[in-house]
Structure formats: structure tokens, C-alpha cells
């Protein structure tokens, strides 16, 4: 009796298993069939760069297909190409699809599908650093660099950058409006000029409106959180940066006052230069080269700290002997005075030199 029961039970289990398997297979095929006719987004480097249209949805010729932005006023076909790829047709628009937008696919006049591009789950862009990264800047500061964590939207930067005076009022016409804007090659670092016409002394703008910054006064640079990155994500927060204007700097940076450390031979100790004044961060990073006694470039890694400390770690050990620092004369301080001339000058009256490089030598010895 027990045996029979067991057998029956086993038979039922097998039957259940078989039915289950058939159900699963059917469900799988049904799902496959459904997904076969589903539109999908194709991504490249985190951008939605295309729409896959299953051929099961298309009745007419590929040439009859068009993609339209659902919210567009004029229902025009989006510029792009349709590529025939086995079981699907791939639509590749000229620029990536826009996050959050709904797109409709038409086969001739018939709407065959609609798909929304989900908003990305990526992190919001951040401001990594604002240079100069010091609290006190000369009152004739010429430029500010803003470094972002991601490439940002360009062409309208001055809508998002505000300078507030000590009362918290927005200062007008402080920055130079330039088109194209000055972004670096990565699209992450923006250079903003304070209007040179207002900085140079005795100019009409300077006399009429005054220097944008005044010695011993506090200012605040504010960057709006509505500034979006290249994917349409807004900045994580509003960024504020306080600083105080110090006295005017009308002096050529003096390399003779630089303090140069003495590296130790046979090891990779770092070479440190203390410039004694804050220099332009990016120019300092790339303006100094180390040459060996044969005039060959010494390879190594450069670090800049707060615009006044330059550190170089060679890839190979120092050798005993005389080395040289080759300094590009375009190196500027915060008021754009470079090694050849002061920024605020008359080219016919004021002294200037036209050297490309300045050389300083240092010894490596025990």
C-alpha cells in the first residue's frame, strides 16, 4: 500500500514537472515574442545613441520610417540614419537622444511604437576645484578656472556664474563675455576672465566703473545649481567660494626669489620649489621643465600646491651634478604678469623683454 502510494506520488510529481516545463517554455517563447516586438535604446559611453526597432513592427519599407520627438511643436523627422541589421532596424540620430524625452516611431503615417529614454542614474556633476585656491587674491586678479568632475554644457556659462560683493549684491559686467567660451580639451575646465578693460588702470572702463575688486573687501563667487552637464544632469548643489581682495600686483614674478630644494643623489627624492607668491595653477603645472647636464629633459611627475609650491619627483634617481630648470616665460601670476612683462602696460612705453625661457641651475650633491 505504501509502495503504491509512493509510486502514484512520484507519477504525479513527474506530471507536474512536465506540465511546469511546458508552461515555462511557453511563457519563455511568449516573452521572447513580446520582446521581439519591443523598442529598445542602444547606449554608447553612457549616452543613448540609438533606437532598435524590431522588424516585426515594420510593415513598409525602411525608407518610410521616421522618428519624432513626442513633445515637438513641428512634427519633423529627427535627422539621422536607419541601418538594416538582421532582425532589427537601428535608428542613429545625429546627436544622442535626450534623457527623459519620449520618442515616437512612424511607419509611413502609422505610429508603430513609442519609447522614453530613462533619466540616468549617474552621479550629478560636481565642482572639483576653483582656482586660484587661496583666500586672498590680488585686487587685479585676471582669471578664474572652474574645474568640474564632468564635461559641462557650454555657451551660456555666464548665466550661472555670479560674483557677489560684501553686501551680497550681484556685481554686474564683471566677467568678459567670450564666444566661444574657453574650455579646455576635456570640456571640464572653464577659464573665466574678469574684464581686462576694468582691471587696467586709467582706462575709461576702470575710471568709470572702477576695478571690479577692491583691496580689503570680501567677495563671494556663486555657481548656480541649475548648470547642467553634458548628459543634462544639474550640479549637485550651489557652490560658493569666499575670498578677500588683497593689494594690487604690478610686479613681474621674480624667479630669483624662488627657494629650490636640494635633491639627494641616487634616490628619487622630490625637488621642491617655493615661489613665494601665488602663480597661475595650470601655467605653473606645465611651465617648468628639468634638464640634466646634457640639456636632456628629466622625466617625472609634477604636482602643484596652492599655486606657490611646485614639486617634481623624477622617474629615475638623481645623479650627482648640475641640473637646470627651464621656465617658460609665459608663466603668469594671478594678475597675469608674466616673466617678460607686467599685464597692465603700454607696449611702447613700458619695459618688457621677449625671452621664451628663463633658466635656473641647481646642484645635486651629497
Amino acid at each position: 500500500m505504501v509502495k503504491t502510494f509512493k509510486f502514484k506520488n512520484l507519477k504525479n510529481t513527474r506530471l507536474c514537472f512536465k506540465y511546469g516545463l511546458v508552461f515555462l517554455l511557453l511563457a519563455f517563447f511568449a516573452a521572447c515574442k513580446k520582446s521581439e516586438n519591443k523598442l529598445s535604446i542602444v547606449y554608447a559611453k553612457q549616452f543613448p545613441v540609438g533606437i532598435q526597432i524590431p522588424k516585426g513592427l515594420i510593415k513598409g519599407a525602411i525608407d518610410d520610417l521616421k522618428v519624432i520627438d513626442q513633445n515637438a511643436v513641428a512634427k519633423v523627422s529627427i535627422l539621422g540614419v536607419f541601418k538594416d541589421q538582421d532582425s532589427i532596424v537601428l535608428f542613429k540620430p545625429l546627436i544622442p537622444l535626450t534623457f527623459g524625452f519620449q520618442y515616437q516611431i512612424y511607419d509611413g503615417e502609422k505610429l508603430i511604437g513609442s519609447i522614453q529614454v530613462p533619466t540616468p542614474k549617474n552621479n550629478a556633476p560636481k565642482i572639483v576645484k576653483i582656482y586660484p585656491d587661496v583666500d586672498t587674491i590680488p585686487e587685479n586678479l585676471l582669471k578664474i578656472y572652474i574645474a568640474f568632475s564632468k564635461p559641462m554644457r557650454t555657451g551660456e556659462s555666464l548665466n550661472y556664474i555670479t560674483l557677489l560683493d560684501k553686501k551680497g549684491d550681484t556685481m554686474r559686467n564683471v566677467f568678459l563675455n567670450l564666444q566661444p567660451e574657453l574650455w579646455d580639451t576635456t570640456g571640464k575646465v572653464l577659464t573665466v576672465w574678469l574684464d581686462p578693460g576694468r582691471i587696467k588702470r586709467d582706462l575709461i572702463l576702470n575710471q568709470k566703473l572702477g576695478n571690479p575688486l577692491k583691496t580689503a573687501q570680501a567677495y563671494q563667487l556663486v555657481i548656480s545649481p541649475s548648470w547642467k552637464d553634458h548628459q543634462g544632469l544639474a550640479l549637485a548643489k550651489e557652490y560658493k567660494r569666499k575670498f578677500i581682495a588683497g593689494k594690487r600686483d604690478d610686479q613681474i614674478p621674480d624667479v630669483k626669489k624662488w627657494l629650490i630644494s636640494r635633491p639627494i643623489p641616487n634616490i628619487r627624492s622630490s625637488l621642491n620649489i617655493t615661489t613665494g607668491e601665488y602663480l597661475d595653477h595650470y601655467l605653473l603645472l606645465e611651465s617648468i621643465e628639468v634638464l640634466d647636464d646634457k640639456g636632456k629633459t628629466v622625466r617625472g611627475e609634477v604636482k602643484v600646491n596652492a599655486g606657490e609650491s611646485w614639486m617634481f619627483t623624477p622617474k629615475q634617481n638623481w645623479r650627482k651634478g648640475i641640473y637646470q630648470l627651464k621656465i617658460d616665460n609665459r608663466l603668469e601670476d594671478l594678475a597675469a604678469n608674466n616673466l617678460n612683462r607686467v599685464f597692465d602696460r603700454d607696449v611702447r612705453k613700458d619695459k618688457q623683454q621677449n625671452k621664451t625661457f628663463t633658466y635656473l641651475s641647481f646642484k645635486v650633491e651629497h
Partner: protein
């Protein structure tokens, strides 16, 4: 047998001759391929449908044969209200996500080429035909050549940590008599550059000229102010570059002086108002007289008569409080963002209207 050899030789010679003829059809040393254009910040047409594309991000200029050379004698006026919305919809996005960086009318086909940057950074070249329809201009497999503008490669190569490189932003381009002129500025140090490069490009790097001018609004001689826009004119049989800067001085430089590495001294002929950046300038005829028309960002567009420029022999060398020098007329058009010449008498403009709309329109030969 001999005859058949002769026949074969004749065919070979014919093929070679044909190949030779084909080569001669491309006189600018262009090769077929896909230019690696990273940004389009300035456009200007050269000879026979060649379009110069200024790429600030690559610090290079590309010369692309558009093959758009079907001559149109009477151009239809362009008219497209809310051009930013129309372009955005054609690209499947919103107007906030696009930026019109320059326009140029093909002087042969009279089609309008529009450079656009999308929010993700993609540079685009679009074209507006006579029916105001937006089309895409493919830059794949085109005949092109290019010239690098960065003669500071050594300085960039020094950056051993792969840090962002120096950008030579291109503010304007212009072609005249076999020369391509490029004005620009750097994103690192405050400096301007002006180059006159022979076209066809030889691949040889040409040094920039240093341009010195007296800036009346600044009351001093300057060399570093960046040229925003320029044009070319002939005065008493000599060719001149007419350049304008931020704070709007108008300066003439003799083209003979624009030699690589040379320092050219300009003659400042007008101060057209400070706190302003000129966007574009073109020459137009009104009642058979020539006028220089200039688009400005914070001041209305302005027009200067060629006769006045020609007559003005001196140079402004004293400080100017507002405006001085050659007389100019302020036009009733503010915020003209883009400007180019459609034909001798008409201009194509992109203007930001008081209500914020961005409209493309064409002047009628009298209203500018």
C-alpha cells in the same frame, strides 16, 4: 601582334591621362577621408565650395570640399523664426541643449551653413536650403585637408600627467586671395594671435604675426587684446585687414605687413563703444555704396561707410571717452548673434529678440 600592343598602350595612356585629369580636378591638395573634428567654432567659405571649419578644441582648421557648387544667381531670403527651437526639434532635443556657434553662406549655392554644438559636445554641421529646410551635412568620406594652429606643441607635450592642454580658441576665420586668416586667443595666458596661412595648406607651421594697435578706449598701445572679428578691404589699391576687438576699436592692418613672426602696426580708425564684443562683420552695398556692417553683443549692430574709412587717413592716438574716429550709424538691431553676407546688398542675421526668441532673418537691401 604589334598592333594589339599599340592598342593596349593607347588604352593605358588613356587611363593614365584620365586619372591625371581627375587629379587636376582637386587643386587644393585635399584627400578623401573623415576629418576628426572635435568642435566647430568658426565657419568661412573659401574658393569653389571649400568650407573652412575652425576647430578650437583641436586647435586646427579643416578645409572641406562641400561639392556644393551649383551656382544660384538670385538667392531667396532666409526666414526662420525660433531657429533654435526648429534646429532642436530636427535633432530630437530641446533648444537648451544646442548652441549655434557660427553661420556662413556659400557664396556660390547661396545655402546657409550652420555650426551647432550639442549639449553632449557633438559638433554638427547643418545646412538650410532655399526653402528654409534644415538638412545635415555629412563630414564622412569628404575631400579635406587640415592645418594645426598650435605652434606650442612642446609646451603641451611637457605636461607629463596628461593634464588638459592649452586651447587656441578660434574667434574668426576669413579667406582672401589664397590666404586663410585666423584670429584666436588662448585659454591659459592672456594673449591674442593672428595668422595668415597660405591655402592650399602645405602642412608647414606658420608663425603668428604680432599685431600692435592703439586702443583709444584704453588710451594705450596694445598687442595682447584678442581680435574678435575681421574682414578685408582694399584702400588705394592696397589690401587691408579691418579688425575689431573687445571694447570695439576698429583697426586697419596692411596685409603686406602680416608676415609670419613679424610685428604689424595697425591704424586705429574708430572707437565704437566700450563694454561690447563685436560678433561678426561683413561688407554690403546700399545704393551702390559700400558699408561695413558689424554685429555686436551689448550694443546695436552698426554700419560704417567705406568712403569714410578710405578718407580717414590718421590714426587715433589719444584717449577716447566714448566713441571717436570714422563716423558710424547704429542700426535698430540689438543682440545680433550671427551675421553673414547673402549677396552684395543683403545680410543673413540671427538675432535674439526682446522676448527671448532667436530668429533668423534676411535684410531686404534697404533696412541695413
Amino acid at each position: 601582334m604589334k598592333k594589339s600592343y599599340l592598342f593596349l598602350a593607347a588604352i593605358v595612356a588613356g587611363v593614365l591621362l584620365f586619372a591625371g585629369t581627375r587629379k587636376a580636378a582637386n587643386p587644393y591638395g585635399l584627400t578623401v577621408g573623415t576629418p576628426e573634428i572635435k568642435s566647430i567654432t568658426a565657419l568661412s567659405f573659401g574658393p569653389n565650395g571649400v568650407l573652412f571649419i575652425g576647430d578650437s578644441q583641436s586647435a586646427a582648421v579643416f578645409a572641406v570640399d562641400t561639392k556644393d557648387t551649383k551656382k544660384v544667381n538670385t538667392a531667396k531670403a532666409f526666414e526662420l523664426k525660433n531657429i533654435d527651437v526648429k534646429i532642436a526639434e530636427a535633432l530630437g532635443t530641446a533648444k537648451e541643449n544646442i548652441n549655434i556657434t557660427d553661420i556662413a553662406v556659400n557664396p556660390i549655392s547661396k545655402k546657409l551653413y550652420i555650426a551647432v554644438k550639442s549639449a553632449d559636445g557633438t559638433p554638427l554641421l547643418l545646412m538650410l536650403n532655399a526653402d528654409n529646410e534644415i538638412k545635415s551635412v555629412s563630414l564622412k568620406d569628404v575631400s579635406f585637408s587640415s592645418i594645426a594652429l598650435n605652434n606650442v606643441a612642446a609646451a603641451d607635450a611637457k605636461d607629463q600627467r596628461g593634464r588638459p592642454l592649452r586651447v587656441s580658441s578660434i574667434s574668426d576665420l576669413g579667406y582672401y586671395n589664397g590666404k586663410l586668416m585666423v584670429s584666436g586667443l588662448s585659454n591659459k595666458e592672456f594673449s591674442s594671435s593672428f595668422r595668415s596661412i597660405g591655402f592650399p595648406f602645405t602642412g608647414k607651421q606658420e608663425d603668428e604675426s604680432s599685431l600692435e594697435m592703439y586702443h583709444g578706449a584704453h588710451g594705450r598701445y596694445e598687442t595682447t587684446s584678442p581680435i574678435r572679428t575681421f574682414s578685408v578691404t582694399k584702400i588705394a589699391g592696397k589690401d587691408y585687414v579691418v579688425a575689431s576687438y573687445t571694447c570695439t576699436p576698429l583697426v586697419l592692418f596692411a596685409m603686406d605687413d602680416l608676415k609670419p613672426g613679424a610685428s604689424a602696426k595697425g591704424r586705429t580708425i574708430a572707437e565704437m563703444g566700450n563694454q561690447n564684443t563685436p560678433a561678426d562683420m561683413i561688407w554690403l552695398k546700399t545704393d551702390s555704396k559700400d558699408f561695413l556692417v558689424m554685429a555686436n553683443d551689448r550694443r546695436p549692430a552698426a554700419k560704417v561707410s567705406y568712403d569714410e574709412i578710405q578718407k580717414f587717413e590718421g590714426s587715433l592716438t589719444s584717449k577716447v571717452a566714448t566713441t571717436a574716429g570714422v563716423n558710424f550709424t547704429a542700426l535698430p538691431y540689438e543682440k545680433v548673434m550671427q551675421l553673414d553676407k547673402l549677396d552684395d546688398t543683403r545680410a543673413v542675421l540671427i538675432q535674439k529678440k526682446a522676448n527671448g526668441d532667436l530668429d533668423l532673418w534676411t535684410s531686404d537691401g534697404k533696412n541695413i
